[in-house]
Amino acid sequence: MRVRRRRTFLIAAAIAIAAVAAAAFAMRNLLSGRTGGPMQVVSAPPDVVARGKYLAEAADCAACHTAPGGTPLAGGLPMPSGYGTIYATNITPDPDNGIGRWSADDFWRALHDGVRRDGQQLYPAMPYTSYRGMTRADADAIYAYLMQMRPMKVANRRTELNFPFNIRLGMAGWNLLFLHDSLPAVSVGSSPAWQRGRYLVNVLGHCGECHTPRGIVGEMELSRSFTGFALGRVAAPDITPAGLAARGWTAAALVAFLGRGLARQGSAFGDMHPVIMLSTRNLTPADLDAVATYLLGDSPPAPTSLAAPDPAEVAADANGAGRISYVALCAGCHGLEGNGMPNTVVAMRNNSTLRLADPRNLIVAMLDGIGAENFPHRQSMQAMPGFADKLSDAEAAALANYLRVTWGGEKGDVTADAVRALR
């Protein structure tokens, strides 16, 4: 109740502040708002452009600003939310559709304040809430890189938000409440690697935008940073030091996962796969180490090794329904002992998804399957079929429980209702 009352208060406060802010910002922004102006000509030294490219990849601009199969950075990816759909915009230097008329100051304002060149507020689907911590030099380097790309004449799609969220000025009030100069540290540390990692993770990588739970008006609940959240169908798991260690993650495993998309704990799937392919695979070894150092802290918690299955939980599957389904549908590839096949099929034993307390991602993978995926260094994983039409809710629940208990060290507490809810 207290949480709900606090939220109600926050919404009321947000609306009130938005109204007050509206007057002030309307004067300033609408008067200063610009749409025309000259095409910017940017000449930056090659090393700055190269650094900008590296930073743009670390900031994973492409994941959203490129539509599936679309022109790189020309926008178009639809981002559905509870408030409507937002389309990522064209950030190539096209003067009419992209940022061709934007100055470095305009670009900085977008990243730092969430304000477009025309003075309109951005929505926090654009993670300026994280990018706000970016240094001006890094923002300028990304700008220099983007401005030397080929301009693409790809029109932007209008956002389709419901009232009152379609009033961009409301975001001014939202920003007063929820836009912070820096995001809290998720681990304890002070080493140079840890500090670099904090910048890479909290700011450029904007990891918290998916991995931190969101509140009722879409704000990151920073007191629960990195504890995991289901923004889409596949949830972003808990990546706090404790959460990672509980699923057996070590710094070396994180480096392998972020650099190659594959680790003993499993392969990247869902929204994390493009993150690997477009962003983290490009990080230098030193930066990957820094990310792992920050995620786990300067004194990483010891990884929890997988315990033997709890006999009580095993006994709960008295008729062996879960194992029967596993042998029938899964063992052909994942193996009777859950060891998978090297370079082809991930292991179930110790799999990070099986070791999550929340069964959501396991159920989603079983129902939907996972498409064939390519990984760096010419690695690939074959497609996993979905079994939605071959497993009843009860069968799927029993199978999920068998997997969790046998190779995840988790409880067999998945119910048929939990499966039905995800169909």
């Binding site: 042998v327 549908l329 063992a331 052909g332 071959k390």
Partner: protein, 183 residues
């Protein structure tokens, strides 16, 4: 070491097999090959990619679908009805083939395959498609795309697919009731 045993009863091409003891973990293709002498289904990749091993699963709701036997355990088929390539053509009481199915005949007429390793899978996929279209015809203009979508998971390394797809398209367009007017 003992291997756990599971009972299996399965109806294949209209004939019931079992109950028989099957080692747990045996994939259905091995049961077909090693225990039942039905060697027509092909083991290709063994990891569910090439689809040479598919059989037809006749579901209780009168629909049919492909199942990859190289990655599906025998236990999945307990109590189920399936068809393999051996059951596709019409045979007489002595087991001699008297008539090929329209899909089989079309593959022969159009020289669809060369080495033939993938052919049982293609026959089953095309048969499932024809049966689906009997229940839900598609506009004639969509036949090409429908065939491509239905067969695209099947891998053939000899022929480049063109004659397979062409043969199935012809079967669909010349069999009454599988298509309707329109594009």
């Amino acid at each position: 070491m003992t291997i756990p045993i599971r009972p299996l009863t399965v109806t294949i091409n209209g004939r019931q097999h079992g109950p028989m003891d099957v080692p747990e973990g045996l994939m259905m293709i091995d049961v077909l090959h090693e225990m039942l002498g039905l060697t027509g289904s092909r083991l290709g990749c063994g990891i569910g990619i090439c689809h040479a091993c598919v059989v037809i699963w006749d579901r209780d709701d009168q629909t049919s679908e492909e199942v990859r036997t190289c990655i599906t355990g025998a236990g999945f088929f307990d109590g189920k009805r399936i068809r393999t390539i051996e059951g596709t053509a019409q045979t007489d009481e002595r087991g001699e083939i008297v008539a090929l199915s329209p899909v089989q005949q079309a593959f022969l007429d159009q020289f669809s395959f060369q080495c033939g390793y993938c052919t049982p899978g293609f026959v089953n996929a095309a048969t499932v498609l024809v049966e689906r279209l009997k229940r839900a015809p598609v506009p004639r203009g969509e036949v090409q795309a429908t065939v491509a979508a239905a067969l695209e998971t099947h891998i053939c390394r000899c022929t480049g697919y063109v004659r397979y797809y062409q043969a199935v398209r012809d079967v669909i367009l010349t069999t009454p009731g599988l298509t309707r007017d329109g594009t």
